[in-house]
Symmetry: C2
Subunit: 73 residues, 2 copies
């Protein structure tokens, strides 16, 4: 059976908290002992269960930061 290992290297911030306690978070996560990547994903309070999300490289996150700096929200 395949197994995914992960380690949350750094908790960076919370984008949203659901009524059930899950949170959409930006973290720095190492998946399968690979180099950590930035990661936007829903987690349960214990950070034992997650939903699908995306990983971003440092360059992608920097680009996103620049884009968000330029737009009116």
């Amino acid at each position: 059976m395949a197994e995914i290992t992960f380690e949350i290297v750094e908790h960076i911030g919370v984008l949203y908290e659901y009524p059930n306690g899950w949170k959409k978070e930006l973290n720095l996560v190492s998946w399968n002992e690979n180099e950590p990547k930035y990661d936007i994903r829903d987690w349960n309070p214990e950070h034992e269960r997650m939903r699908k999300g995306i990983t971003l490289t440092l360059e992608e996150l920097k680009a996103l930061k620049e884009i968000l700096k330029e737009i009116e929200l």
Copy 2:
């Protein structure tokens, strides 16, 4: 057969361009004719094919913007 419809309401920015022409983009996308949501996802050049990604509400994107403003990348 189930069908997903989508309309890219606004192209906001490009986070990364792959050598094959696909791009990781931030867009405002209406899925299945629902209210548009912010969306980070890979697209082919014609925006006819996409890979999995995440959708974010306006509030979540605002929170992400604030988080990114505060951190050093």
